[in-house]
Amino acid sequence: MCVKDGLGEVILALEHIHKYFHLKGGYFSSKRHRITAVRDVSLSLPHGITYGLVGESGCGKTTLSHITAGLLPPDGGRVIFCEEDLYALGYKELKEKRKRIQLVFQDPYSSLNPRLSVGYVIKEALRQGNVPKEELEERAASVLKSVGLDPGCMSSYPHQLSGGQRQRVVIARALCVSPLVLIMDEPVSSLDVLIQAQILDLLLEIKERVQIPYIFISHDLKIVTYLSDIIGVMYRGEILEEGPSLEVYKAPLHPYTELLLASVPKMGDAKGFLASDPTVELKTEHESLNQGGACPCSYYLRCNRRSRECLSGPIELRSIGENRRIRCINV
């Protein structure tokens, strides 16, 4: 069991995680392609901290979230949860431990079984959280209220609820087993702007109430910065920059972070937004998509600061200052 004492105690740590996917090439050839989904990712999550992971689609953040939650064994590295290596445990113990890391998925439509009512889903989750039978009804009502839903919706089916309501149900389900860590994989990306704001507000409120660390994943830098304490910028399976969220937002160091920042639509400076063009060269984007990790720096081909030295050898994540890390030699 994990003891929650004092800040600074690391509850979840990823050490040098690698994950590859194998593709078959061509019709009859048995030659196999290897795609590197996650390359040497290490991060640690202290108590009470929200870690935000930003990156484009395809950068490996969903894979990383599944590995962290215990659903997908990595090909290298360890996931240390409560000081135990998650994937070294036997199947039964893994199942028990996994309950304490909950995952909220992106798509509110496929996250709920269309044949089961909301009440059934919540009560089933509560039963898994070892709530005695007599208290089920009451606890279900209170959990639903705590995410802002009317307990009367227990008899509804998912197709009768809107996207925002479904997402609330999913969050409620995750909270039923009293998790120690909550991973959220793009929970608001498919929702409308107003509902997004409500769900973000809900997440903040839950964070204050329950005091558990979050890992918040999104491709929208604004939202991640708003919600997290530490940001990690991910690109093609690697973490390129890491640091306290506002610092990274106001003063990004890595060229990719600068690109992400420039892509945030600015209300005040319209002409400037569309004219600014820090890095993108379309030709190289096309090429870099087909590369498959041959360069030591995965961002090399799109970078506006690239130089000869970037190709010389593997680039490590080095620390700059007290709490920032960066993977670039041109800073």
């Binding site: 996250s111 079984n113 269309p114 044949r115």
Partner: protein, 354 residues
């Protein structure tokens, strides 16, 4: 809530509703038929031979001596008589029960086997079977087949070898050789492919000839040789469902595999299975009719729609009703099952793709 929605849906879809009504009618008729024609003194006697009344067309009046001896509805033979003077109406009623039960039971068996095998293949598909496990399973299966085909001693030997090696698989000696060989999904699918290689009707024929003729054997045989389609459907649905978020969420909650399969995945995968099952009922009735046509079905004098058809083939021009009436009835039953099956699919699989 679900059934209420389903009821409304069927009311709007009158074709499916019609199918459902017909289906229920036939169910009723088969039960009624069983009651009316069984026992030694049944109300409507399918066995009674009246040679003086043979080959009478439908709705013809019975001769006075027949009316004197027994009671006939309206004093007529409602659907005529066959070449032995037996009442076709009574025989059809008796046959209804057989045909419907063959349809249901065999489909029930095939769906059961198909769901289990397809479910295992779809859910556990990427687990690997070790070499030793594979070989011992092969030995076991070979042994069982040999036992069934009366080669007892060799069969017993092989199956014992298989069982022993399965039990000893965990020991140090064999564990090293038990490396990953083939995954569960491929293994099961190859078995399905092997089963599919046999033309099913011939497979049924072979088994029916070997086993003693009885209605139960036929049901089991049809069931055991037609589960492959269902297995493939279930496997396909499971492969897709496995990647959906709610299944991953259920795993994260720590639910047991059995619970995930039966409570979460199966109700969502059942759509195509239901449709295939209703079509399967129709096809099972036809298979039984075919077997009876060839003389390999339920033994006489018990009537089935198939053997009424079969007997009628000799009198196709003299007494066409002997062939048309059972043929038309089979067509009606198949049609009603088809219509109902389609409505059922719409009713049962609504909002998975929302």
């Amino acid at each position: 809530m679900r059934m209420g929605e389903g009821y409304k849906l069927i009311r709007n879809d009158w074709v499916g509703f019609l199918g459902l009504c017909l289906f229920l009618c036939f169910l009723g008729i088969s039960v009624l038929g069983l009651l009316l024609t069984r026992g030694s003194e049944p109300i409507l006697d399918p066995k009674k031979v009246r040679l003086h009344e043979k080959l009478k067309p439908p709705m013809c009046k019975a001769s006075p001596e027949t009316i004197a001896n027994e009671k006939l509805p309206f004093g007529r033979f409602l659907l005529g008589t066959d070449d032995l003077g037996r009442d076709v109406f009574a025989r059809m009623l008796q046959g209804a029960y057989v045909s419907m039960s063959v349809g249901f039971v065999s489909v029930g068996i095939s769906v059961l086997i198909g769901v289990i095998i397809g479910g295992i293949s779809g859910y556990y598909g990427d687990r690997n079977i070790g070499l030793i496990t594979f070989l011992s399973l092969l030995l076991l299966i070979a042994g069982i087949i040999l036992i069934i085909s009366s080669n007892r001693s060799l069969g017993l030997l092989l199956s014992c070898l298989g069982v022993i090696s399965l039990l000893l698989k965990k020991t140090r000696f064999l564990k090293q050789m038990d490396r990953q060989f083939i995954d569960v999904d491929s293994f099961i699918m190859r078995i399905v492919d092997i089963m599919l290689c046999f033309p099913s009707f011939f497979l049924i024929l072979t088994v029916v000839v070997v086993l003693p003729p009885s209605i139960y054997n036929i049901m089991i045989v049809i069931g055991v040789t037609s589960w492959m389609g269902t297995a493939r459907f279930v496997r396909a649905e499971f492969l897709a469902l496995r990647e959906l978020d709610f299944v991953k969420a259920a795993k994260l909650l720590g639910l047991s595999d059995m619970k995930i399969i039966f409570v979460h995945m199966l109700p969502n995968a059942i759509g195509p299975v239901l449709v295939s099952a209703t079509l399967g009922v129709a096809s099972a009735i036809l298979v039984e009719a075919g077997l009876s046509f060839l003389g390999l079905g339920v033994p006489p004098p018990h009537a089935t729609w198939g053997n009424i058809l079969s007997d009628g083939k000799n009198y196709l021009f003299d007494a066409p009703w002997l062939t048309f009436i059972p043929g038309f009835t089979i067509m009606l039953v198949v049609l009603s099952f088809n219509l109902f099956g389609e409505a059922l699919r719409d009713m049962v699989n609504p909002k998975l793709k929302s």
